[in-house]
Symmetry: D2
Amino acid sequence: MDVRLEREALNGYLDDVFPQIRGRVRAIDVAPGVVRAEYLAAEGDLRPGGTVSGPAMFMLADCAFYMVVLSALGREALAVTTNCSINFLRKPAPGRLEAEARILKLGKTLCVGDVLIRSAGVAGPVAQASLTYSIPPRRSDMG
Amino acid sequence: MDVRLEREALNGYLDDVFPQIRGRVRAIDVAPGVVRAEYLAAEGDLRPGGTVSGPAMFMLADCAFYMVVLSALGREALAVTTNCSINFLRKPAPGRLEAEARILKLGKTLCVGDVLIRSAGVAGPVAQASLTYSIPPRRSDMG
Amino acid sequence: MDVRLEREALNGYLDDVFPQIRGRVRAIDVAPGVVRAEYLAAEGDLRPGGTVSGPAMFMLADCAFYMVVLSALGREALAVTTNCSINFLRKPAPGRLEAEARILKLGKTLCVGDVLIRSAGVAGPVAQASLTYSIPPRRSDMG
Amino acid sequence: MDVRLEREALNGYLDDVFPQIRGRVRAIDVAPGVVRAEYLAAEGDLRPGGTVSGPAMFMLADCAFYMVVLSALGREALAVTTNCSINFLRKPAPGRLEAEARILKLGKTLCVGDVLIRSAGVAGPVAQASLTYSIPPRRSDMG
């Protein structure tokens, strides 16, 4: 697996296509088939008690996996999430989360992998997710 | 299974504990073990092209299932999501979504069920989710 | 969705391709997008206490969903399981199980659906599964 | 996390409680929170073409995770599978499979983790599974 989109290009591309999450999710490290991303919770992502909400952790898992798919396929990829199974393991602390997304299989039509989310100051992961993305044929492949 | 929390009480309770989603997710029908809820997408939930985002559909599935758990257990329930497996089936239209959440098993420590999400104007469901909630012992049960 | 393979043809086809399960899993009803199948536990499927094992219930869910995919696509389908998320809800009784498999989305490359398994004499379902099958292009489609 | 049941004790215990799989699944390495297990396919586990069937890989994932739960909780554990989400990634070769099961969270009532299955001669994992086990209170805890 090659890296076709490096960290800065990845972050720039995401800001363009998802302006809603600008500045909240950033790739911090990109290697073949693995992306580490960080997340800074916005006000609306917090639950009573200051913990990060389930939907916000889902968003982080999905976004980190999208990054690793993009890093492997390049910018034109039209990949979309078809399945996500997420386990919530521990209550995250209010601050920064870090996600490590890994590709387990990059096929012609499907990409499958997993994501582990950690929270600063919490021992053990706060969430684990497995994701499947569908990869539609590129226009250029279709003649 | 009894209904311990009727529709209006359910909506009022959710507004209190999750002010972020006030007016966006509402129970429209509550029966034993089944809740139908509707969702009106906010600006930030939309993806390019106007479709509702994956995290927003996850939030709706989780919220609809939380409602059916509350409706069965009553207001003091401290149930938390431990697992959600969600399949994205079709691109939803920008407008209103409707979710039907159903309890398949209400045990002492776990509640398991599923949610089907439909989008006005789209034939066939747009998402299907299976969820597990953990039910901690009530304070009153612990002496 | 049409029924391209009726009950008897479906059972005959499965006996040919999976002789190991001959006589253990049978379609009992086939309608568009829905197949009901029954399962008679073999000795090796039972756990101490006479209950049906998890792997045997997984096999039934997978097999019932394969049947409904075949019923919709016809005999030449080369569909393979890519994901199964299964919830074990209640202890099944030793006897006959019945599975209802339903297609939620039949796309060009993926078929997604769910299965509910019931056990004679047990109130409420004993297992629920969501499955995704990948549908490779047919030879005839590839020229 | 301690190891409360070492490799030989683990294999002996499994042979006692699951005589059906005797000699087919064996722990080969036990460390805190991680068990590696091997699997030798029996005739009935093979699909046309000699590949290992989905239910057999499910059984291996479930069994390897049961081993790591037992290794952490000790022999009296009554843990039962409540959820398994399994992704089938590549066609395994007919021979030996190896599974690595890991605990991500060991709580009072739930244990969550994942399993990666590899096949000799196949580059990349053949299956990935996430599992949740429910841990009933021990008799001794109940007075």
